[in-house]
């Protein structure tokens, strides 16, 4: 080990006292680079721990369901489960459709026409998410014998929201109409929700 005399002195000094401060605490480029690089890596490593909370592949695969409506007679309704929530599918009679089309929309909290809530060519099927837009309870009125509320549609027992037979909010605290999900008719009686 070839050490110049002054280097030897310095090393002794380095051992004896803490002269570290002048050389060490000065942040030069390499320290900043190491810290920055490490921080970027740590930040990137956090992503998988966050993303694992998002819906998993099997949950996403069930994000759409196909329903066969051939068994649902006019005037009847069914509930199907979609993304863990009920979907109400109501097969309307011509009289119900007429009533819903001719309803007076003035003064409604969330005025939507019947045409906006159903699809061209399949107007007889009213498809909506069966979750009250107030605080998430399930309104009654789909199955025979359930309370349909003051407007012959749906009634939410939690806080008394009344929906008409097109799912529009008429009375009570709910802020909007029952939500209409995305859906596509694959054939006249087959519909894919989601």
């Amino acid at each position: 080990m070839a050490t110049a005399p002054e280097a030897g002195d310095k090393s002794v000094e380095g051992v004896v006292g803490h002269t570290a401060d002048d050389g060490v605490h000065r942040r030069d480029f390499i320290y900043v680079a190491t810290a920055a690089f490490g921080s970027v890596g740590a930040a990137a490593a956090i992503w998988p721990f966050v993303d694992q909370m998002n819906p998993s592949a099997d949950v996403l695969a069930l994000a759409s369901v196909e329903v066969n409506l051939s068994q649902v007679a006019p005037g009847q309704g069914i509930k199907v489960s979609w993304r863990g929530k009920p979907v109400f599918i109501q097969h309307l009679t011509p009289e119900q459709m007429a009533e819903a089309q001719n309803a007076d929309l003035s003064g409604l909290r969330d005025a939507q026409t019947f045409e906006e809530r159903t699809q061209e060519g399949h107007r007889q099927y009213l498809i909506q998410v069966g979750v009250c837009t107030h605080l998430g309870c399930i309104p009654s009125g789909t199955a025979a014998g359930e309370v349909k509320g003051d407007f012959n549609g749906w009634f939410c027992p939690c806080h008394g929201s009344h929906y008409d037979n097109a799912g529009r909010i008429r009375k009570g605290p709910a802020p909007t109409n029952l939500e209409v999900p995305e859906y596509t008719f694959l054939s006249d009686t087959n519909v894919r929700i989601g």
Binding site: T19, I30, Y31, T34, Q71
Partner: protein, 282 residues
């Protein structure tokens, strides 16, 4: 005092171990290897080694991925040959999109699958079946183990979903086993032959319940590859390797990025460490 307790405990353990060792050695000197063990040792063959696509450069397994064409061929072998007895219950039809089938094709595969998915008849509430959908896993072949054994001469065809990971050197083993049937060697001792089972030197006990499955031209590959026994064996082993570890490509890609990052980081940290210590002797 403490010292002597320690000596005494040590001496006791040593004494008992010496007794045990002595009796075991004496027993071992008298013991003879059973004939079946000898036969197994003599006739058992080790796995044939295949140069799989995922072994990558130099066989290090760092860069190589799956060959989707091969996986699709392997799926065809599974579908046409294996699926009659072996389920694949942890893989979903939608997963087939990961090996290059498009959505319409997978949907077709799901609806056409021979076994349907158990369901409940919406009118009567009775047990029923319905065609599979993308979201379904491959339906099980038999309703339960008893049914499976009853249909297979009391042998249980294992599920294939994890078979490549649940056997040592799984991919090579599956290939060796499925292509490894041989006529019983003339020298094979008569007393060790097993009625009703099939001779396969790659199987741990040499006698396997599954009869030979592959024969040349058994399936007709959609991509025109000649369906030799060897080709089908490789393809189906590759498919099952994917089925057991479908995230392998994702894992390797993440690994390459992570290790490059860590090497740079460690290099920087080393330089920083040497800088910090430059004025210190230690």
């Amino acid at each position: 005092m403490f010292r002597f307790i320690s000596y005494a405990i040590g001496a006791t353990f040593i004494f008992v171990l010496i007794l045990a060792g002595y009796t075991d050695l004496k027993a071992a000197a008298d013991a003879e290897t059973s004939e079946s063990d000898q036969v197994r040792e003599e006739y058992h063959k080790y796995n044939k080694s295949v140069d799989w696509s995922w072994n990558g450069n130099m066989g290090l397994g760092v860069f190589g991925g799956f060959d989707n064409q091969q996986l699709q061929r392997g799926f065809q072998v599974y579908k046409d040959v294996c699926s009659g007895c072996h389920s694949l219950k942890r893989v979903a039809f939608r997963n087939l999109q990961e090996i290059g089938f498009n959505e319409a094709e997978v949907k077709q595969i799901a609806t056409d699958w021979v076994v349907e998915v158990p369901s409940i008849n919406p009118d009567t509430g009775e047990a029923d079946t319905r065609p599979a959908t993308l979201a379904d896993k491959f339906p099980e072949v038999y309703p339960n183990e008893i049914a499976a054994r009853a249909a297979n001469n009391n042998a249980l065809p294992p599920d294939m979903s994890l078979i490549a990971k649940s056997r040592p050197d799984g991919s090579n083993y599956l290939y060796s086993l499925i292509t490894g049937y041989e006529p019983v060697p003339a020298s094979f001792p008569e007393s060790q032959k097993q009625e009703g089972l099939n001779y396969n030197p790659h199987f741990h006990s040499l006698w396997i319940a599954m009869p030979p499955q592959l024969s040349d031209g058994l399936v007709e590959y959609a991509d025109g590859t000649p369906a030799t026994i060897d080709q089908m064996g490789k393809d189906v082993a590759a498919f099952l390797t994917w089925a057991a570890e479908p995230k392998m490509e994702e894992r390797k890609q993440a690994g390459i990025g992570t290790i490059i990052f860590l090497l740079i980081f460690t290099g920087l940290a080393y330089i920083a460490y040497r800088r910090v210590w430059a004025d210190q002797k230690h």
